[in-house]
């Protein structure tokens, strides 16, 4: 049992640290408004600089501009970037999830066209999977892609919860090509440019009032056949690759939201009365234990990754723990501080407003617990009423049931 670097890792860390030391004067502010074009541009430039220094796409193969390194090195870079108080790469979604998917399923042309600009921040990417009626049940996407006579596709539908859409150049979209097949069997993945006729991007405001996500509307938006990734009607398999990398990215950056026990203890500890109140201490102790556990869970995940194991669905439990512990922390801090903690300018008001949305982001807790209960513990599945039914029929049935 060892949390220390091997000599090779220590040497790598030293290099990263000294590069950051030498270059951090060029880094933009670590946080900013995603609507601020100047800040976003400075983040792009910084990503380019990181990529040039070999500090972006660490786990990508060398032939695509990556470093061919392992998850431990990725974590070392993450840790050093955090210690240096500089931002990391802008396009976490592209480099962490979508790039690897293109590497796995894309054509040679796609790889050579898209991966380089993605890595350097010249073209930011977004993920166009979720829809208003396809959240936890992602395979229920209704966005249609209809083949034109010239072989191109016309895409029509609505995507939602799209991070970074407002400044992305490209997106990876999951759309239905064959509605008469079973819902998993009629989907196709496409690369779509994020501008042109037939695409509308609209910010989606959260409880806090900030637009953390976007809605993206497609109306007969035409993409050429060469933009298909992973084969027509094979989109579900392609999407699973993205989801696997999403799990991996989350597994490597668990404390990314800043939900740390020491930070919450500091907030509570600023009130002398709270510091010696047994009830406050009990609540703080409980949530701190949860967050400390998540930190060591991420080290366990990393150990497994470094032995070549892929994290299973149980890694999603860390997200459940984090969100619920942070909710408990928000309640506690606001109980201690009082209504003043709910001032719109307070970091705690922001956190309290942000967390309810985070709770169902990436799939509800209920779906996650189903998956873990069945795949990890081997518990029997729930009856599935949508099994083997063509998607179009399924939709008709739902409409009928609601109107009944």
């Amino acid at each position: 049992m060892d949390l220390n670097d091997t000599p090779e890792q220590a040497a790598f860390r030293t290099n990263v640290r000294s590069w950051l030391e030498d270059n951090k004067a060029d880094a933009p502010a670590a946080s900013g408004d995603s609507g601020d074009t100047a800040w976003i541009d400075s983040r792009r430039a910084w990503q380019d600089k990181l990529a040039e220094a070999g500090l972006a796409g660490l786990t990508w193969p060398k032939e695509f501009g990556g470093q061919g390194l392992g998850p431990i090195e990725q974590v070392i870079v993450n840790q050093e970037i955090a210690s240096a108080h500089v931002p990391g790469i802008l396009d976490v979604i592209g480099i962490g999830m979508l790039g690897p998917c293109i590497i796995a399923h894309g054509t040679d042309e796609q790889k050579s066209r898209y991966l380089g600009p993605m890595l350097h921040g010249d073209e930011v990417w977004c993920q166009l999977f979720s829809e208003p009626a396809a959240g936890s049940d992602l395979a229920a996407v209704q966005t249609r892609a209809i083949e034109n006579e010239d072989g191109s596709y016309a895409i029509t539908g609505q995507k939602v919860w799209t991070t970074n859409a407002q400044f992305s150049s490209y997106g990876l979209i999951l759309a239905r090509t064959s509605p008469d097949k079973h819902k998993h069997k009629g989907l196709t993945m496409f690369i779509v440019p994020m501008e042109g006729e037939g695409i509308t991007i609209r910010g989606l405001r959260q409880i806090s009032g900030e637009a953390e996500f976007n809605e993206v509307f497609f109306d007969d938006f035409v993409v050429p056949a060469e933009n298909v990734v992973g084969g027509v009607d094979n989109g579900w398999g392609t999407a699973l690759t993205v989801l696997m990398y999403e799990r991996l990215t989350i597994g490597l950056g668990s404390e990314g939201f800043g939900y740390r026990s020491d930070r919450f203890a500091e907030a509570v500890g600023q009130d002398e009365a709270a510091k010696s109140d047994p009830e406050v201490r009990q609540r703080l102790g409980d949530l701190a234990a949860e967050l400390l556990a998540v930190r060591f869970t991420s080290y366990r995940t990393l150990t497994a990754l470094s032995k070549g194991q892929i994290p299973g669905p149980e890694s999603g439990l860390a997200k459940v723990t984090t969100v619920n512990a942070a909710i408990a922390a928000g309640e506690l801090i606001a109980d201690v501080v009082g209504p003043e903690a709910l001032d719109e300018d307070s970091e705690w008001a922001y956190m309290i407003s942000f967390l309810p949305g985070l709770k169902s982001a990436g799939g509800t807790e209920a779906i996650l617990r189903n998956t873990i209960g069945e795949r990890v513990l081997g518990l029997p599945p729930e009856p599935r009423l949508d099994k083997g039914i063509p998607f179009s029929e399924l939709r008709a049935k739902e409409k009928e049931a609601v109107s009944a």
């Binding site: 936890s136 229920a140 405001r205 719109e344 169902s360 739902e398 049931a401």
Partner: protein, 374 residues
């Protein structure tokens, strides 16, 4: 044994529902977050409905009703997030009436709009009267009220303070006993302290020897005013819980995932049933608080604290659960669910906070036990 509403009570409740339905209060609650001027002014409605005089005796121009009747009105306000001043006004009117104050008739007629600067009565552990502090867990000393009625001191998070015409200040006299005084709003310094829920006007109030009129009320009546506030806040929360429950049930029937309505899944069904359980427990305690307020004053402190605590837990749970049931869309600005969540967040920390009410349940039980042993 009869815990049902009387015909008059049902009429009062239905009339409140009808009067409030004329305003788009929930929509306004969202718009007012960015532009407070979008809030409808319900004052004339409140006056016309006779709510300002609800707790004022008939001989002083009011309706002479009981706490429970007022709770029914607040419940309807809570259902639609109506921005009324009743939570501060009604306990103030109660003390004015008990003190036989000259302002009663003006309050009943809507010419004066008083609010209570509430103080928490001594408990089994602490001997003094305390008020809300602007920040932090420790509570502040209640204002000092001189023999001539003048007031010195301050209190934070006073309901309706920005718009009140009078403050009924609860504090302590020179001997440290409870006392109350009526101060004109112009004699106080009021700092707007509205937070997070735009429908709830709040202010920090301070008095520097502000002239006032002493009220002839005893410690029991002063304590009752505090507990009345707890009961009314509980009732308002209970109303909000009901709206959350209705929204959740509706959506759970309509929304499908994996080929089934989401309400057919136990995780959703049981969470919603838990809202019902908490709602019904709170409702039972509303009857307890109403009954004690009327027939069992020595248990009003216990009953009102238990009700406020229970209704607060119910609202905390229901407002979060409502967002969960709705999934991501329930956490967006355009959705109504966050407005009820905002209300829950603020309610939890007003008037001593729900935690203080829960603590007081224990305190009242210990005190009753000590009294029985003595």
């Amino acid at each position: 044994m009869n815990l049902a509403l009387s015909d008059e009570q049902e009429f009062l409740r239905d009339a409140a529902k009808g009067a409030l339905a004329r305003f788009k209060t929930v929509e306004a609650a969202r718009e007012a977050l960015e532009d407070p001027s979008r809030l409808p002014d319900l004052w004339s409605t409140v006056v016309e409905a006779g709510w300002t005089g609800l707790l004022i005796s008939e001989e002083r121009g009011g309706a002479g009703l009981e706490a429970f009747d007022a709770m029914l009105v607040l419940e309807e306000c809570g259902k639609v997030l109506a921005p009324t001043p009743l939570l501060g006004l009604l306990p103030a009117s109660y003390l004015l009436d008990r003190g036989g104050d000259e302002a009663c008739r003006a309050v009943a007629d809507g010419e004066a709009r008083p609010t209570l600067v509430a103080a928490r009565p001594p408990g089994d552990l602490e001997g003094g009267w305390t008020v809300e502090a602007a920040s932090g867990l420790a509570r502040a000393e209640a204002p000092r009220i001189a023999a001539d009625g003048s007031v010195t001191g301050s209190a934070a998070w006073v309901l309706d303070a920005p718009q009140a015409t009078h403050f009924v200040v609860v504090g302590t006299d020179q001997a440290g006993n409870g006392a109350a005084s009526v101060v004109e709003a112009s004699a106080a310094t009021v700092q707007d302290a509205t937070r997070y829920d735009a429908t709830r006007a709040l202010g920090h109030v301070s008095f520097d020897g502000a002239p006032g009129r002493r009220l002839d009320v005893d410690d029991g009546q002063l304590a009752a005013a505090w507990y009345l506030g707890q009961a009314l806040l509980g009732a308002e929360s209970l109303g909000t819980v009901q709206t959350c429950l209705t929204m959740s049930v509706q959506y759970a029937k309509e929304r499908f995932t994996f080929g089934r309505a989401i309400g057919s899944y136990q995780s959703i069904k049981h969470e919603i049933t838990e809202v019902l359980r908490k709602q019904e427990n709170a409702r039972s305690l509303a009857f307890y608080a109403g009954w004690a307020g009327q027939d069992k004053p020595e248990e009003f402190g216990l009953a009102a604290s238990a009700f406020r605590s229970s209704a607060g837990h119910a609202l905390d749970f229901a407002s979060r659960s409502n967002i969960n049931v709705h999934g991501g869309i329930g956490a967006t600005w355009e959705h109504d669910a966050p407005l009820f969540f905002r209300r829950a967040q603020l309610n939890r920390r007003l008037l001593g906070g729900a935690h203080d009410a829960t603590d007081r349940i224990a305190g009242e039980l210990f005190a009753a036990q000590a009294a029985a042993a003595a």
